[in-house]
């Protein structure tokens, strides 16, 4: 699957879609493929502040649990409600399934994110 060019990425295999001061965060196709069947996604409540580089939730597959690291700092404004009952969409539509929407507090943090070509390079390393 090609990595969409309108998204930014992290080396922790998350993607970020920035529009204005809102960043949607999800995990990449590479990440979901490595995890296998996702069964739980644990996310913060709206209103919580998250900090770039720190864990803000976890994602469990049948075989393992992985932490989700915040790619940017800000306040969680929305949590994807469909993930509670249908976590498997993370596997079937990884790049369309955002987990949280964050109102970013420091737009400059976006400068350290990867573009699709850079991220693609990481997955092949």
């Amino acid at each position: 699957m090609p990595y969409p060019t309108d998204l930014k990425y992290t080396k922790d295999h998350e993607w970020i879609r920035i529009s204005g001061d809102i960043a949607e965060i999800g995990i990449t196709d590479f990440a979901q493929d490595q995890l296998g069947d996702v069964v739980f996604v644990e996310l913060p409540e709206p209103g919580r502040t998250i900090k770039a580089g720190e864990s803000f939730g976890s994602i469990e597959s049948v075989k393992a649990v992985s932490e989700l690291f915040a790619p940017m700092s800000g306040e969680v404004v929305e949590v994807n409600p469909s993930l509670k009952d249908h976590p498997e969409v993370v596997n079937s539509k990884p790049h369309e399934t955002w987990m949280v929407k964050v109102r970013v507090s420091d737009p400059k943090e976006a400068g350290s994110l990867l573009d699709s070509a850079q991220y693609d390079g990481i997955t092949r390393a």
Partner: protein, 382 residues
């Protein structure tokens, strides 16, 4: 994984097939094995509702033959091998003098004085060394590691018999559960054993290595979409749902057969065997901890190594745990004090810092309907 590690891994005769079929390969017990093909959930469900095939060629085979073979097996195995007819198999422990597990195994009686032990890949070398030493000391029998003579292919699930029957002239309805027979499958000379590690009906087929791909492909083609290749990931979730113990997780050299709830594999009446004395002591004194099944009552998956607590204090550890694809529940096994081992007892499991409620439930979590293929009735309360 470094290149050195990769090159030192052993591969089964089906390795090229797994690679070509897009399986995800991982190092396991010194072997490079497929962990999943289409996904653990998909493979798990296929085995519960149709059928799946597994490459378990990494398992070890150790043969014991000669005048003193029965005597030798009786000494090293926890179970009573004299109860086996030729053509029959039984589950048993390979125990230390302390009654703990060197390994668990299936004991096949090939002929009256010829046995084959099927052991775990990770333990095969250790088992062979131990068995050779014990047999050399006590019995007139030869011990041979014949692992490289066999590829081992399992077909498991309600459709397993119908699919396998298409490839063999052996009447499979004649092979009872935990018995085996010989014949041809896809024109390869094989041993067909009605055994498995999934909680479903099915067969394990011992195949000459050069015929493995032929049998594997034959089974998948005969299945016409009802049989899919499965990896070790689904094998693990399937065996856990069926409450079958996994060596290295649920049993090892620190746990006894009684603590593991495997008292039924102990042939008390057969006379002396390695570990008997200590097990008898433990039986008379009573065990202090027991392996139990649990179900997580809140959201979360309790995994291997997580701490079990009661009243805020640590009381045990999870030995295996997952979210099972068929029952769709987080279940697992743990050693807990006997006082907390009764079904219905509630404990907490520390899931990454959060005390999560769990309840002791009886084994197994899943048991197939005994009437054979047909509607599957999960019996979580059984």
């Amino acid at each position: 994984m470094t290149d050195t590690a990769a090159t030192s891994l052993r591969t089964t005769p089906l390795h090229a097939r797994h690679r070509a079929s897009g399986a995800r390969m991982v190092p396991y017990a010194g072997w490079e094995m497929p962990v999943e093909y289409s996904g653990i959930t998909d493979e798990h469900m296929a085995v519960r509702t149709r059928a799946g095939v597994f490459d378990v060629s990494h398992m070890g085979e150790i043969e014991i033959a000669g005048k003193g073979a029965l005597e030798a097996v009786q000494r090293i195995s926890s179970n009573d091998a004299s109860a086996l007819k030729v053509g029959q198999a039984q589950y048993a422990g390979l125990l230390t003098p302390d009654g703990t597990f060197i390994d668990d195994m299936l004991v096949y009686r090939m002929a009256s004085s010829h046995f084959m032990l099927v052991v775990n890949a990770a333990n095969a070398a250790k088992d062979y060394a131990w068995i050779s030493e014990q047999v050399k000391l006590a019995s007139d029998a030869a011990v041979v590691d014949s692992s490289s003579r066999y590829a081992l292919i399992a077909i498991q699930g309600p459709a397993a018999r119908d699919v396998l029957q298409q490839l063999t002239a052996v009447d499979l309805s004649d092979i009872r559960y935990y018995w085996f027979s010989y014949g041809e499958v896809a024109n390869a000379r094989v041993t067909i054993s009605r055994t498995g590690y999934t909680g479903e009906d099915g067969y394990e087929i011992f195949v000459p290595p050069n015929m493995a791909d032929r049998v594997w492909q034959g089974l998948i083609q005969a299945g016409r979409g009802d049989v899919i290749p499965c990896g070790l990931g689904a094998r693990d979730t399937l065996r856990l749902e069926a409450a079958m113990r996994l060596y290295g997780n649920d049993i090892d050299e620190s746990t006894t057969a009684l603590e593991a709830g495997l008292g039924w594999t102990i042939g008390w009446k057969k006379g002396d065997f390695i570990g008997r004395e200590r097990l008898l002591e433990q039986k008379e004194r009573g065990i202090t901890r027991a392996l139990v099944g649990f179900e997580v009552l809140e959201r979360g998956i309790a995994r291997q190594g997580y701490i079990v607590t009661s009243g805020g204090g640590e009381v045990g550890k999870v030995t295996s745990g997952t979210q099972t694809p068929f029952l769709k529940k987080a279940v697992g096994m743990a050693y807990v004090p006997v006082s907390l081992s009764a079904p219905g007892t509630q404990v907490d499991i520390d899931i990454r810092g959060r005390a999560t409620r769990a309840q002791v439930v009886p084994f197994p979590f899943y048991s197939r309907s005994r009437s054979g293929p047909g509607p599957l009735i999960p019996a979580p309360g059984e």
